[in-house]
C-alpha cells in the first residue's frame, strides 16, 4: 500500500461524509444521542455514588470498655481497664483492613460534648467531678461498610470491650444502594452500547447501499478489499469523533447549569450532599466517551464494510 493511496483513501473517507451528508448526520445523531444519554446517566450515577460514599465515611462504630466506676454491670478482674490500658488497643484496631480512622475519646472529652448538648455553655456549674468517668471510648470509621458486622464481632471478642454501638440499618442500606447503582448502571450502559452499535451498523449499511454504484465500480475496476473498505472505516471513526464531541459539550454546559441551579435553590441540600464538580465528572467521562464513540464508529463501519464490501 502506497502512502499516496492511503492519503487518497483518507481524503475519500472525509469526502464521503460530505457526499452522504444525510447518512452522516443520522450516524452522528445516533452516536450523539447514545453518548449524551450515557453521559447524563453517568453524571447522575457518579453523584449518587459520591453522596453514598460520603455517607459511608460518616458511618462509625463506637466501642466502650469495662471500668471500675461502672456499677451497673458485673466485671471480672481481667476485664477491667484504665484509660491508658484501653489506649493500647488502638494499634490493634487500626491494623484492620476495613478501618479507615480511629479516634480515642477520653472521658473528659465525652463529658464536654455531652454537657454542652444538654446544659449549654455553662455546663460546668454544679458538677465538680466528671460524671462520665470511665466512659472513654473509640470512635471507629470504616472504609468499607460491608465489613461492619465482621468488625463488631471481632470487637466483642476482646475481653475488655463492654459495649459496641453501631447501626446495622445504615450499613446495609448504604451497601445495598451501592450495589444497586452498580448493577443498574452496568445494565443501562450495556443496552445503550448495543443500541448504538446496531444503529451505526445499519446507518453505515444504508450509506453503503446508497453508494452501491461506486462500490460495484470498484469491484469491476479491480479495487482490493482494503481500498474499498478503508474510506468507510475513516468515515466511521470521524463520525464517531464528531458524535462524541457534541454530547460532551452539551453535557458540560448542562451540568454546570444544573449544578449552579441546585446550589442556588437548595443551599441546605448542597450543604450536606456533596456534588461532584464538572471536572471530576469529565475526568472519567471524556476518555470513556471518546473510546466508546470512536469504537462504535469503527466497529459499526468495519462490520458493515466486511459484510457488504467484499470485492
Amino acid at each position: 500500500m502506497k502512502i499516496r493511496t492511503l492519503s487518497y483513501l483518507i481524503k475519500q473517507g472525509f469526502a464521503n461524509i460530505f457526499r452522504n451528508r444525510w447518512y452522516s448526520l443520522a450516524s452522528v445523531a445516533t452516536i450523539s444521542a447514545c453518548l449524551f444519554l450515557f453521559g447524563l446517566f453517568y453524571a447522575v450515577v457518579a453523584n449518587f455514588q459520591s453522596i453514598v460514599m460520603k455517607a459511608e465515611e460518616g458511618v462509625s462504630v463506637t466501642v466502650f470498655f469495662h471500668n471500675e466506676y461502672d456499677k451497673c454491670e458485673e466485671h471480672t478482674e481481667e476485664q477491667l481497664t484504665t484509660q491508658d490500658q484501653a489506649k493500647e488497643l488502638q494499634s490493634r484496631i487500626e491494623a484492620r483492613n476495613e478501618v479507615s480512622e480511629v479516634n480515642f475519646i477520653t472521658e473528659d472529652e465525652a463529658w464536654e460534648v455531652f454537657a454542652k448538648e444538654y446544659y449549654g455553655e455553662n455546663y460546668a456549674d454544679g458538677f465538680l467531678d466528671n460524671p462520665l468517668v470511665g466512659e472513654y471510648s473509640y470512635e471507629i470509621f470504616l472504609s468499607d461498610v460491608d465489613a461492619q458486622s465482621a468488625l463488631v464481632d471481632w470487637l466483642y471478642s476482646i475481653p475488655q470491650v463492654r459495649k459496641v454501638n453501631y447501626s446495622e440499618l445504615t450499613a446495609t442500606t448504604l451497601s445495598g444502594a451501592n450495589l444497586l447503582i452498580a448493577y443498574v448502571s452496568m445494565g443501562i450502559i450495556a443496552v445503550l452500547l448495543a443500541v448504538s452499535v446496531f444503529l451505526i451498523h445499519s446507518t453505515i449499511a444504508m450509506g453503503i447501499s446508497a453508494r452501491s454504484v461506486e462500490i460495484m465500480l470498484m469491484k469491476y475496476l479491480g479495487a482490493t478489499d482494503f481500498f474499498a473498505r478503508f474510506p468507510f472505516v475513516v468515515e466511521g471513526v470521524v463520525i464517531g469523533l464528531i458524535g462524541t464531541i457534541i454530547p460532551l459539550v452539551g453535557i458540560y454546559s448542562l451540568y454546570n447549569y444544573a449544578l449552579s441551579y441546585v446550589v442556588e435553590r437548595f443551599t441546605m441540600l448542597s450543604n450536606f450532599l456533596n456534588f461532584l464538580t464538572v471536572e471530576e465528572v469529565f475526568h472519567f467521562l471524556v476518555p470513556v466517551s471518546f473510546l466508546v464513540g470512536m469504537g462504535i464508529g469503527f466497529l459499526g463501519s468495519i462490520s458493515s464494510a466486511r459484510k457488504h464490501l467484499r470485492v
Binding site: K2, K219, L221, G222
Partner: protein
Amino acid sequence: MTKREQRRLEKRQQIIEEKGIICLDNVTAQYPGTDTTALDQVSLRINKGEFVFIVGNSGSGKSTLIKLLLKEITPVEGDIYVGGYELNRLSHRKISFFRRTIGVVFQEFRLLKERTVYDNVAFAQRIIETPVYEIKRNVPEILAMVGLPGKYKASAKDLAGGEQQRVAIARALVNKPSILLADEPTGNLDPQNTREIMKLLEEINELGTTVVVVTHNNQIVDEMRKRVIQLNFGSISSDEEGGYYTYED
C-alpha cells in the same frame, strides 16, 4: 518486475496462445436457488484482437456469460480462461488484480453522477494506484480518444446519453486492459449515438484490444460484419465469422 512476476506473465502468455484470450470449456452456469441452467455446457474460444458480438433473445444467457468472464459468478461445471488467468483457480486476493486486465461497459453507463468527467475516469486509475502526475496525463488523452476533448470539468449528470457512455468507455480503457467487455452498451441510446459508440468500439479493437459486445441491435450487427455468436436457451446456436443476426421467434 520480479523474477516471479516475470514467470507468471510468461505463463499467462502461454495460456493465451494455447487457449485464446477467452476460453470456455464445457461451462454450465446456474444461479443459486434456481433450477434453470443459464448456460448449458458452452464451449467457445476467442482469440487475441478479435471483435465479437454476442446476440440472442432475452434470457438466453448473454449477461451470464459476461458475469462468468469477470468471475462475478462461478460456473457449476467447466473451466474458464480469461487473459491467461484460469478463473477456477484464482484466489479471492487475486481477483482484483485479474479484473484490472479487463474493461467493462454497461447499458446504464454507471457513472458517478455527482462527480466530474475527469474524476470519473481518474477513479479507475486511483484504484490501481497510478501516480497523480500520470493520471493528469492519461485522463485527457483517453478522453480525447473517445471524442470528448475539453469536457472533463463537466459534471457527469449534465452530459447527454451518448457522451455519458463515452465517459464510461474512457473509464474502462484508461487502465489499458487487454479485453473490453460491453453488455448492451447502446441499449439506452438513439440510432445515431449507437452507430457512433459501435464505431468507437471498433476503433478501440483496431488498436489491439479484444472486444466482446452483447447487443440486441440486429441492424448494427448486420452492418458491421464481425464474428457473431448467438445464444439460445443457454446454448450456442450459431457462431459465424462476418455473420448476421438471425431471427428466431
